[in-house]
């Protein structure tokens, strides 16, 4: 039966040759090559759960009176969107589970992307010929952050409304084009009814389609260029060592998919996330101080809290203080990420293609820079939660903020210096250490050098 179907398809599409080649495609055996897959599978879960949520979500701010099964909000005036989220959480079968899985999957998607990208960075996998894929990856990161923001800003609760307002203020602060940008993305002066349908369209059509397409490109490029390899016996610039796509790699990867799914379902079922019913409906008059964004925007929030309040004029235009930490700083971070492979070329003066990776200790400067950047972001994350930290530690938030203004420079510098020294020490220790790798039954494949 299966065979005759296969023959039927093959005699028409002539796939067998391709499939045979594909099944023999070799993937390296190292856990760090699976990090990107965790991101991919979180994305798959996001799509599956998101489709379910889209069936019940209403993207309008039409005022309605709530009379659903969450009685503490009975009789409260709210946006139809918020009512639909309450409906999903309390009345739709498995609605809360799916909603929570969707939110957790988003948080983990971003975490997996960051870890995956850190792996690429610390092993210098972005070097020629893979700069293109690095650029695709950075674009995916930006799109994922943007879609997370659109997603949690749509719920119509007080917290998401606060987030929407901060996003609006940041975009508006961009010199010259700010008002136009806000008009495109928010449809007017927030709060305005036009925002939600735009966010919804972006969140469920435009950005996911772009992400899916770019993931396709990402994988196609990997397929074409083949994977990199860690340094080791037989692992040269022309040879890749690992396991075949079928069966070993497929089974491994499928196992990972189920485990990611299980972990996200575990969180979705047992750990509460974004309890919108407690925040209450968005009301432009009500203020929510120290509203935290989801973690992947916490560093921007932190930068905005630490940045001193300075407004100045450039060429007659007033540049508001939020512009620097809220827009300029993240934009610069992403620009630096985009051009990093080319900066690295200028630093190392190495323009050759590379298929064998570097261990972090073999590139002390890059490793130190990466660790310092991560430390910088972690301090900013803390700054973004400084009110929570101050309250939990009974500290004075003003004093804590001043301390963080110092730490934000000291901690990255110290982390960079220490990691540099560790790399040097490690390199000396490893200088003569080469042996001990089992390559018995591993498959190999010639690299198709496209250069």
């Amino acid at each position: 039966m299966i065979e005759s179907t296969a023959r039927f398809v093959d005699s028409r599409l002539r796939l067998s040759k391709f499939v045979r080649r594909a099944m023999n495609h070799v993937f390296p055996d190292h856990w760090s090559f699976m990090l990107g897959e965790v991101a991919l599978y979180s994305f798959v879960i996001l799509i599956i759960t998101g489709v379910y949520l889209a069936m019940f979500f209403k993207d309008t701010t039409t005022p309605v009176i709530y009379h659903g099964s969450y009685t503490p909000l009975d009789g409260v005036k709210m946006a139809a969107a918020y009512r639909s989220v309450l409906h999903i959480s309390f009345d739709v079968p498995a609605g809360l589970l799916i909603r929570q899985m969707h939110h957790w999957a988003a948080d983990i998607f971003l975490a997996a992307i960051i870890v995956h990208q850190a792996r690429i960075f610390f092993t210098a996998a972005y070097r020629k010929p893979r700069e293109l894929n690095w650029i695709v990856g950075v674009t995916l990161l930006i799109l994922a952050i943007a879609n997370g923001y659109f997603g949690y800003s749509m719920c119509g609760d007080l917290l998401s409304g606060a987030g929407m307002r901060i996003g609006y203020a940041i975009l508006l602060s961009v010199p010259v084009i700010g008002p136009w940008l806000t008009f495109i993305f928010f449809g007017g002066t927030v709060p305005v009814a036009a925002t939600l349908p735009r966010f919804f369209a972006l969140h469920i059509f435009v950005v996911p389609a772009l992400i899916a397409a770019l993931i396709g490109v990402h994988l196609l490029i990997i397929w074409r260029q083949l994977h990199t390899n860690f340094p080791g016996p037989q692992r040269t610039e022309k040879l890749i060592v690992g396991s075949r796509l079928w069966p070993s790699y497929t089974l491994k990867s499928l196992g990972l998919f189920f485990l990611v799914f299980a972990l996200i379902a575990f969180l979705g079922g047992l750990v509460q996330i974004d309890p919108v019913w407690l925040y209450g409906p968005y009301n432009p008059v009500a203020i929510l101080p120290g509203a935290q964004p989801d973690w992947y925007l916490g560093w921007v929030e932190g930068a905005m809290r630490l940045f001193p309040g300075v407004n100045f004029r450039i060429g007659g235009y007033l540049v508001p203080e939020v512009f620097w930490p809220g827009f300029f700083f993240p934009a610069m971070m992403f620009v630096l990420l985009y051009v990093w492979p080319f900066i690295e070329k200028l630093i190392s003066l190495d323009f050759r293609p590379h298929n064998v990776l570097r261990w972090p200790y073999q590139q002390p400067f890059c490793t130190a820079l990466g660790c310092a950047t991560l430390a910088f972001l972690v301090v900013l994350e803390f700054a973004g939660a400084d009110d929570v930290v101050a309250l939990a530690g009974h500290a004075h938030v003003g004093a804590l903020r001043d301390l963080l203004r110092i730490l934000v420079f000291v901690v990255p510098a110290a982390t960079g210096a220490i990691s540099y020294l560790i790399c040097l020490w490690w390199r000396r220790r490893r200088a003569s250490d080469n042996a001990g790798l089992n390559i018995g039954n591993e498959a190999m494949e010639e690299l198709t050098q496209s250069q």
Binding site: L35, V76, D107
Partner: protein, 238 residues
Amino acid sequence: MPKGASFASLAFFVAFCVPVVRGQAAPNAGDPLARGQQIFAQHCAECHGDHGQGVSGVVSIAGPNLQAEHNLGQVLTAIEVGPSHMPSFGRILSVPDMKDVAGYVTQKIAVIPMQGGNLSEGGDLYAMYCSACHRTDVRGGALVFDGVNAPNLSHKSRALVAGAIRWGPGPMPNFPPSVLTDQQVASIADYVKYAQRPPAPGGSAMHWYGPVAEGFAAWVIAFLTIGVAMWIERGGKG
């Protein structure tokens, strides 16, 4: 609070049983509320204000608002024992006097109704008037407010919440009846009470730390998946 409870029962004992045993009749027995008012003006108004609205300023005389003190036993305990800066009246006032002034406090001063609140109205009002400082989850907020954080309200009694709204402790503004009616105050107190331990239908609420705790949990799980990936790479062997 077993200690408070034993004080309260002690006070009850003192208030109701002792006079009967001693067979002592209260001097110039008249309207107990009128006598209570007199005693209050004499002994308490100095610190608690003429209408029990509370006095702020010098610590030694700054007594809190008593407009939410509905519990006779608690008031008697306070008079008898004298909490913190308040003097003890156990030796100054006779037992019937204490009883009368306590009755006056609970019936005439405590004007903020503790019943008749509306939870959903309370949520709305709380978002408008209180969440700016105490946050919607009533877990408190840090303000750049000469070093004073708006405290976590998750252990405050309803009476204290209602009282705080009227008297406005420290840098907190007070909300007189012209801003919030008694019934609205009761609604807010209801909401705070509800939000102290709201049901968590989604599972563990992680102490209501919000997105900060959520991000943390996401990273814990992300590292767990890395562990799983390493385990898979080793062929599932340890």
